[in-house]
Each structure stands twice: as C-alpha cells, then as structure tokens.
C-alpha cells in the first residue's frame, strides 16, 4: 500500500482514538447542560485534577484500579463542589455569572495544581503491556485502546443508568421541565447536583485515560476545555451519539493537519471548521432545532 496514505491513516486512527477522550469530556458538558442549562468552563481543570489525583494514588503504591476509582471519587466530589459554589446561586438569580464563576474556580484549580504537583509534565503509570498492536499496517498502542474502551464504557454505563435507575429518570425529568419535576416531588436541586457529580467523575476518569498518552501537567487543562467544548457544541448539546462522531472527527483532523501543515498549525483547521459549523448550525450538527416560544 501507498506509504503516504498509510501514514495518514495511522494519524487518523491515533487522532480518532484521542478524540474519543475529548468526547468523554464533552459528555460531561452534556450532562450538566441537560440538567441545569449550565456547563463548567473549568471542565479541563477537573480532567487535570482527576489525572493528578490518580497519579498521587498510584505513587502511594495503590493498585491501578484503586487509584482510578479514587480519582473518579475525587472528580465526583469536585463536580459537586463546582455546582454548589459556582453555579447554583447564579442560576437561581438567572444571570450568566456561572460562566465567570466556573472559570474562576478553574483558575484556582490550576494555581493549586501548580503548587501542589509542580509545573512540569509528569508521566502516568499504567499496567498495560508495552508495545503496539498492528491492524492492516496501522499500529495502535495499549493506552490508546484503553481510551476508546474507557470512554465507550463510561458513556454506556451512564446512559444506561439514566434510562433504568430511578435517580437517572429523575434527572431526565428535571432536564425536561424543572418546575414540573418539582411538582411531582423530585428534588431538582439534588438531581442537578447528581449530574454535576457524574460529570466531574467522567472528567476525572477521562484524565486517568488521557494522561498515559499525553503526560500530566497543569497546562493540559485549558486546551482540553476548548476541544471538549468544541466537540459538545458541534455535536449539539443533546446528542451523545453525535459526541463520539464529532470527537473522532476533531481528533483525526488535528493529527492529520499537524502532519501535513506542521505541528504549530495542528489545531487551526479544527477551529475554523468549528466556527463554520456554529455559524451554519447553531444548535449543533446532531442537535434538535430550537423553536423560539413567546
């Protein structure tokens, strides 16, 4: 086969697998947006803190699965914390202050991470075997496969929980109509808190699967927020299937443009596509059309 083509395919596959991690972080945006119509502009910071928490637990000689679970618990607690401190009041007052407050909480998180864990990027240990698998001449490493499996696994679990547990159905009721849900005896506050905790948990889990590929550092937060947010908005804030497609597309575009245009230009085509997609379909490629009601 043509080597040029093979290299491109290799880039696309590697990027696409990474894109599934973006989709997982974006899924966190979707969860909170569905429940309370707000998103965490510091979601990337939660990913970073989750990765750091996992790293600290691993260095304390805990087994891999325990440290990942620990990181997820930390993420859930942080997600709840962000909702309580930054979002609840602003949403009650019906202003856009939550955008700023979530940025502020993220800013503090970066500063804290810099001082607690240091500014350098650190490797993240995993129990996966070394080396790579080959499919039709395209090599895929184990950590990359873990991203795909982990992202799909968590999203499936949460989607199932949303459909088949009472708490999940309550969250869906709140996202459909908060007042009506409250009249039926659902505590909408708890439902919103729950979805922020789940969102934080999936962000932290995303951190533990991204970190083995990219390393952990305070700088990973900002760019992740932007990428995940792009994925969420392009896919539409109400389509979890669209997320995966958009995530894979963004990851692959990034890698290919980095390969063709040079590493500095890596993110540019994705951003241009994003602005265009927003201009043409504000509700997202897979989102439902918004009907204005008066």
């Amino acid at each position: 086969m043509n080597t040029e083509f093979l290299a491109l395919a290799q880039m696309a596959v590697g990027g696409g697998l990474m894109g599934m991690a973006y989709a997982l972080v974006a899924y966190g945006f979707q969860l909170t947006h569905a429940a309370g119509k707000a998103v965490n502009f510091g979601q990337g910071e939660l990913v970073m803190l989750g990765a750091f928490a996992g790293l600290s637990l691993s260095t304390a000689a805990l087994p891999y699965w325990v440290s990942v679970s620990g990181a997820m618990a930390v993420g859930a607690a942080l997600g709840w914390f962000v909702e309580r401190t930054a979002v609840r009041l602003a949403l009650q007052q019906r202003n856009e202050g939550w955008i700023l407050l979530t940025i502020i909480v993220g800013l503090f998180a970066v500063s804290a991470a810099e001082n607690i864990w240091g500014r350098e990027d650190k490797p993240f240990p995993t129990p996966w075997p070394e080396g790579a698998l080959e499919f039709f001449g395209i090599s895929v490493t184990w950590p990359e496969l873990a991203i795909a499996a982990g992202a799909l696994g968590i999203m499936t679990l949460v989607e199932l929980a949303k459909r088949y547990t009472m708490a999940g159905i309550a969250v869906q009721a709140v996202s459909a109509d908060q007042d009506a849900a409250e009249l039926c005896g659902i505590r909408s506050r708890s439902a919103i808190s729950l979805s922020w905790a789940i969102s934080g948990m999936s962000a932290a889990f995303a951190g533990t699967i991204i970190a083995p590929v990219t390393t952990v550092g305070p700088t990973m937060a900002a760019s992740l927020t932007l990428k995940a947010f792009s994925v969420a908005v392009v896919a539409g804030l109400d389509s979890s299937f669209g997320l995966l497609l958009a995530g894979i597309a963004l990851g692959a575009t990034e890698n290919i443009s980095g390969f063709l245009l040079g590493s500095g230009w890596r993110e540019a085509p994705g951003l241009i596509l994003l602005i265009l997609a927003l201009a043409l379909r504000p509700q997202g490629l897979f989102g439902k059309k918004i009907i204005r009601k008066v």
């Binding site: 502009f41 241009i272 927003l278």
Partner: protein
Amino acid sequence: MFAGVSLGMRERTAERIVRITVFVGLAALPALWQGQYALGLLTLMAVYGVLLIGLDTTVGYLGQVNLAQAALFALGAYGTALTVQAGATLPLALLAGIAAALVPGAALALPALRLEGPQFALSTLSFATLTIIVLNELESVTNGALGLSIVRPPLFMLRLNATSFYWLCLVALFVAWESSQILLKSRFGLAIEALRDSPTATDALGIGTLRHKVLAFAWGSALAGLAGGLHAMNFGYLQPAAFGYDLMVMLLLGVVFGGRRSQWGAFLGAAIVAMLPNLLSNHLLFSVLVSLGCILSFIPLIRAAISRRVPFFRETAPAAAMAIAAILAFFVPNMEEWRKGIFALFLFAVVVGFPNGIAGAMATRLYQLIRFAPLPLPPATGGVPSSRRSSGVALRLSDLCKSFGGVKAVEGVTLEIRQGETLGLIGPNGSGKTTLVNLISGLYAPDSGSVEIAGTQPARGSLMSACSAGSARTFQNLQPFYGLTALESIMICQQKREKSEAMGWLAAVGLEEKARIRCSEMSYGDLRFLEIARALATRPRLLMLDEPAAGMSKPDIFRLVDLIASIKQAKVPILLIEHHQDVVAELCDRVAVMDGGRLIALGTPHEIRRDPKVIEAYLGSDNTETFEQEAIPC
C-alpha cells in the same frame, strides 16, 4: 437610616466633574510618584482601561461572554507594530492598529453574534486560539515566538518620552470613555440593552437585533485595536504568548470585578489588573489588603449571627474565600507562586458578594446617600389617534400552514382583516392562536401559504420585515426590556425619537407617572400596558394583542377595554386573542374561532355564540342544548 443629601445637580454633570478631577490627578501623578516603574504601571493601566471599556461593550451591555478581546488586542498591537516597522507615523500606526482589530472583529461578529450564551463564548474562544496560532506560525510576518521589536515613532516631530506617552494614553482613555458613554446612552445603546433582555421583542418592534450586535462588537474591537496599538508603542516588544488565555481570563475578570455596564467599572478593573502583580509582590501591602477583605467579608456574617439567622450562601462564600486567601497570605512561604490562586479567591468573593462589581456596589451606596436632580420630562403630545393611514385590506392570510414535527399547529388558515376592523381570535388552549400570531409577525416562517400585511408581503420568517410592513404585537408571556425605563422602552420603538411623543404614548395607556421607572421594577399589569404602548409607538397598520388581559385584575381589565376601544376608534386594525368573554363581546366586530389548528368558524360575536361547531369545540359534542353557553368567550 438617614435621608440622602440632595444635590442640585444632574447625575451626569456630577459624574463628569468627578471624572475630570480623577484624570487631572492621574496626569499630575508622575510628578509625585516618580520612577520608571510607577510610570510603566500607570501607562499600562490607561491602556487596559481602553481595552476593558471595549470589552465591557460586549460583556456588560450586550451581555455575552466575549473571550476574543485579548486576541483583538494582539491584532491591534501587531498591526501597529508592523506599520511602524514600515515607517508609518504615530497616528497612522494607531489607525492601522484599530483597523487590524476592527476588520477581523467585524468578520467574526457576523457568524458569532447569531449565537447566544455558551455557543457565543465558544466561537470567540476559538477565534482567540486561532489568532494566537497564526501569530506564532506566520513567522515571515510576525517573527513568530521570537517576538517583534519596534521603536516608538514621534508624534508630529515631537519625540515622546515615557511621561508624555503616558499623557497620550490618558487622552486616549478619556476619549474612549467619553465616546463610549455617549454611544451607549444613545438610542443605539438603549437598543443594545433592549436586545440583551429580549431579542425577540427587539426584532418584533423593528429595532433590529443583528446590526446592533455587530456594531457593538465592532466598537469593542476598535477599542481593543486602539489599546493594542498603544500597548505596542509602550512596550516596544511583542510576543504572541503574552496574549493567550491567561490574559483573556484576567481581562474578563477585571471587567466583572470592576463592575459591568459601567465605564467606571472598566477603569477600576483595569487598575486592578495592571497593579495586581505589583500588589502581590509587596508582601506588606498584600497582607493589609487581605486583612481588609477578610474584615469586610465577615461583617455580613456577624450581622447574621446577631440577628440569629443562618447566613445566606452569598454571605458565607465570600468570607470563606477571603479566609482561604488570608491563610495562603500568612502561612505559605512562596506567595508569588500562588498569584493566580489568590486572584481567583478575590474574584470569587467579589463576583458572589457583589454581582454588580465594585463600581456597581459603590453606585448603589451613592444613590442611597445622594439624590441627584432628575432629568426634566416634556409634556405629553400625540396619543392614540395618529396611526399611519393605508388603504385596502389590513391583513390577508391565504392557506397558511405550519407544523412542528408531526403536530399541525396551523393548518390551511385563510382570513382577512379589513381596515379599521377589530377581529377577535378565540379557541381552546393549544388550538394554534399564538402560533398564528407568530406566523403573521414573522417569528416563524410558514410551511406554505402567504401573509400580506397592509398590501405588502413581508419576507418569510423575518420579524423585522413584518414590522416594517406595519405589524406590531404584544406577547402572551411578557417580553419587557428590563434594563430600560418605561420612557426609554417607548423611545427606542419610535421612528423619530421625540420624547414628548413617547410621553404621549405613555399617557395613552395611563403610565405617564411611571416614565422614569425601570421595567424590572414595574408591576405585571403595568408591563402589559407598556407592551401595548410599545407596539403603538411603532405606529402599526395592524396591531396584534396576544391575551392582553391575561392575569390582569378587574379594574385593570376595564382600563384595558377602554384603551382598546380608543385604539379601535382611531381606526387601527386589531387582531385580538382573548379568553375573557366580556372583552371579546364588547370590542370585536367579528370573531374567528380556531380548534386543532384549523379555522372552524368566522362571524359576528352573536353568530359565533350559536355556532354548533364552536359549542362542540368548547363543551364537547353531545349535550350542547343543556348547557348555558358561558364557556364561549363571546
């Protein structure tokens, strides 16, 4: 507690006097506070002031979180630097800087401003990231990450030293401040505030959402360009990395910290953002500040404890944040390293504790202490009988259809309203009445069929076009411009902005006493009347009232009936949706009945009351004879 001091002066005059004093003080400051470093800080503050006044136009007045300002600042700086390298004079280089930010800013505005909230924030964030990538990678032009050095050009043969350049920046700040204030207090600024509160009403009343948004964004971008140009000449060295996400967050937070929708707020925010690194490096000064913040934030907690109640979140959260800041300040050895974190804590305390920023909190205090002389109001002129005359049919709908998914909300409606006629539109809930009004007023585009208002066919699905054809409407769910006063709400709806005529419209609906009151402080009933006055102020050829009496008290309903009767007398054609039977029976010449999206009957109120199809729609099929027909609203 105590009565306010009455100042025999208008608010605006008093503000101007204070501002000029501050500027004179700032200009004299280099004589007292000497040293290159202090001068650099002051210059930076002036530059950031221009930048933040621009940012406040979008973040404060437009109410959209704009994350592109740092990138536009960078574009202005590079535009100026490159033209200086090419040998341009100082004014020309500054103009180039403004253009370098304005052109991409306006280009971004067109697609981005059709978005709202998070989507808007994201598109500006993408633009910002893209800009930094281009500045970094286009090495042949910008010299990439290595940076670009320039020498400050003279201003008309005049060599500018640091002090005189500082004065130039102050002049720029003053000009930006004054012109922003004039612009944002004008009809243009009022329109921006109106569209922040209700874009739908802004379009439906013919004010126009998109062009005002683009203009606001363009103005903010131009100021960013000017600030960028000054910044380039101030530092003489530019690097793309300096204009990244960190700067953007600082700027945004500076505006919020200082206070949105206020030039004073932007100025205060700029001072804080510029001075911040300095504050944090001086340990003593910083400790004083933190202690002060701690004391201030604990006062509400102590008050709550004295009155034995559980403190609110907005009282505990700032205190907790300040307590953490104090712990960091006194116990952490490397405080410099925690700069961002401590800044974040301060910001958190301010945003939660004073949602309107420092300037907002100070203004509230000042209004309690000082009473300014109010602006005089002209006597009312005009009033209802002054509609635009036109001949022919006021409204012609032919075979109008609209469905949402599988639901046929409006199906094959054909209807005419004659000149001077009042047509009642009734029907059970969910029968498609409001959808029909939405189709006529252009909020929805019909799937098929056509709308003709006073002889012209407006563009499909365009509120603006329907309004210029002559339609005006009120909303079933109120769409007031909360940030504006009653008088301002009327004035932006008028073709010619004459205050006396606006007073006339207010008098017509009985609100002339409340002209200076903000909509956010008006009662529900008053807002309903204000919406009618707003619609009348556009001088409609067709007035659509969507359940005007909904939720009104009995005396208000009598007032409403009198008002609609007087509008009717002025020969304005009216389409009236209403459930109150006495209102419909008294006012309407003819009544149309809708059920399930279809028009099932049309006739005089008397005929409609006896129509078996109408009785069936309201009361069910069988027992039509046994019931009194009181459920039918006519």
